[in-house]
């Protein structure tokens, strides 16, 4: 089926790809809303070892070459980064607090 027309979302079953394949990337499915605890990085303590970047199961730790940050659109708040940080630069803060 070649897609020509503009399709209304959410789609009806006749307009879905074969084999129940997803037609959008999972990037459009933001999982940050699942989070109960938010990682907060103390940049003064961070030694840029990137252990958090390596361990994050969601690839939600970002590294721009200078600074580590968290992509809160996808971070589920599991706390693995805080646990792995050798200098305790990451604190898990309840989402109920500012």
């Amino acid at each position: 089926m070649a897609q020509a027309k503009e399709l209304k979302e959410p789609r009806g079953w006749r307009d879905l790809p074969l084999s129940a394949l997803p037609y959008k990337l999972s990037l459009e499915y933001k999982t940050g809303g699942w989070r109960a605890f938010r990682p907060v990085i103390d940049q003064s303590k961070c030694v840029k070892c990137l252990m958090c970047w390596l361990y994050c199961p969601e690839m939600a730790v970002l590294w721009d070459g200078e600074k580590v940050s968290i992509n809160l659109d996808y971070c589920k708040g599991c706390g693995i980064c805080a646990n792995e940080c050798p200098v305790k630069a990451i604190t898990m803060v309840p989402e109920t607090k500012e």
């Binding site: 070649a2 959410p10 079953w13 879905l16 084999s19 037609y23 999972s26």
Partner: protein, 418 residues
């Protein structure tokens, strides 16, 4: 056996061999250009994969043979292979099929045209290795096309047809070819095989993956695992899309029946052999007052008894149900509507209910204003023999029901000791 006037491959060009039902399936798979066979090689496995592994070891096929550690893994491996675009096959029986159960649903919902040979055997407990249809009925709702064969010739023919049915662009569903354990699987019979090239041509060569449009790639791509066009098979799907993803399965099943019929006709033109209209195989039903329906090899015994009773002037007939899923409701209604009494034979039971085909036939006939009377006969569990004398007894009872015009016991057990 050969009945068309001039099949493309005449009988003298076909290869006659003496094989059991398992070997008949193995030879069919050998000729079907199958890319991957994954199977658990120990009990309850049959000679199907034993013989096929010899073809692999001898270099007679190009197939990748994966001897996995369980049937759960066997079905998983063929699902993976089919998702990668391969033509994939596996075989099992009884407990092995039970262990495949959760992956059966994945094969059908991902629309992977896998072919599975099921050698029908009873389920434990107690442990039993002989024929009944309990294993197949356990996968009834898994979204697979289910064909039941009567003899080893049909096992060979149907296995090849199964690949063509499964891969038809209007179908794209897995197919289970059911053959009765021991009665067919371990019994020698002469069968006619087609030459390799004829089978290759019938199947259109190697499997070709279907195409679909994927928005994030912005184009139509082959539905297969390919790093150049990355696809995700079977990710999380919640209340927002799961229901929509079940509907194409419903529709594909609707279309499958006609494809089964079409492939039966194409095979007839090629080989001279066909099995009824592909979905039902009837005998002496036109003016019959009493008709018996049956699946699998028992049909031969019933037909034998029908011939005998017809010679005595009794108006009896038999319908062999070749296609169980999708169930041919319209066809069965058409065949049975004129009968006074229908005896429905089931080699399985749904505990707390009736035999599986009884429920289907009841459903099929309900919309008729005047319905035949129905009696369900559960028979042959765990390989219990079904001699002609037992079938004759059943017909006597059914003829008596036709005379009295009343069913006293709708569920009967044929051949069990009181």
């Amino acid at each position: 056996m050969v009945s068309v006037k001039s099949p493309k491959v005449p009988p003298e060009k076909q290869i006659k061999i003496g094989v059991n039902g398992d070997e008949a399936v193995a030879y069919a798979v050998k000729q079907s250009l199958v890319d991957v066979v994954a199977a658990y090689p120990i009990t309850p496995q049959t000679i199907i994969v034993e013989r096929f592994s010899e073809f692999v070891a001898n270099g007679e096929v190009h197939t990748e043979f994966v001897p996995v550690e369980s049937e759960h893994s066997a079905m998983s491996a063929v699902v993976g292979a089919a998702a990668a675009g391969a033509r994939a096959f596996t075989a099992t029986a009884s407990q092995g099929l039970a262990l495949m159960w959760e992956i059966l649903y994945i094969a059908s919902s991902l629309r992977l045209p896998v072919v599975l040979a099921v050698v029908n055997r009873a389920l434990s407990a107690p442990i039993n290795i002989h024929c009944d249809h309990s294993d197949a009925m356990g996968m009834r709702d898994a979204g697979w096309i289910q064909l039941f064969v009567e003899n080893s010739q049909e096992a060979y023919d149907t296995t090849i047809q199964a690949f063509k049915i499964a891969e038809d662009p209007n179908v794209l569903l897995p197919v289970a070819v059911n053959l009765d354990g021991f009665v067919l699987s371990h019994t020698l019979e002469d069968i006619y095989m087609l030459p390799d090239e004829a089978v290759h041509e019938f199947l259109g060569g190697y499997r070709k993956a279907p195409k679909t449009f994927v928005d994030y790639l912005g184009k139509e791509v082959e539905v297969k695992l390919d790093p150049a066009n990355p696809l995700t098979f079977g990710p999380l799907d919640l209340y927002d899309y799961y229901f929509e993803h079940k509907m194409p399965q419903v529709e594909a099943m609707k279309r499958a029946k006609d494809v089964v019929k079409k492939v039966n006709e194409e095979w007839y033109e090629l080989s001279g052999r066909k099995y009824g209209d592909g979905v039902l195989d009837t005998y002496a039903v036109e003016d019959a007052d009493v008709i018996v329906t049956v699946l699998g090899s028992t049909a031969g015994t019933v037909r034998h008894v029908v011939k005998k009773l017809r010679a005595k002037g009794e108006k009896v007939g038999v319908v062999r149900i070749r296609l169980f899923r999708p169930f041919p409701f319209d066809e069965i209604r058409e065949v049975l509507k004129g009968a006074k009494v229908v005896g429905v034979m089931d080699r399985a039971i749904s505990f707390g209910s009736f035999g599986p085909s009884f429920m289907e036939i009841s459903t099929a006939l309900y919309s008729l204003k005047e319905r035949p009377l129905l009696v369900n006969y559960v028979y042959g569990l765990g390989g219990r023999d079904v001699p002609p004398s037992l079938i004759e007894k059943m017909f006597e009872e059914l003829l008596a029901v036709a005379k009295e015009g009343e069913v006293k016991e709708p569920l009967k057990f044929l051949g069990v000791r009181e």
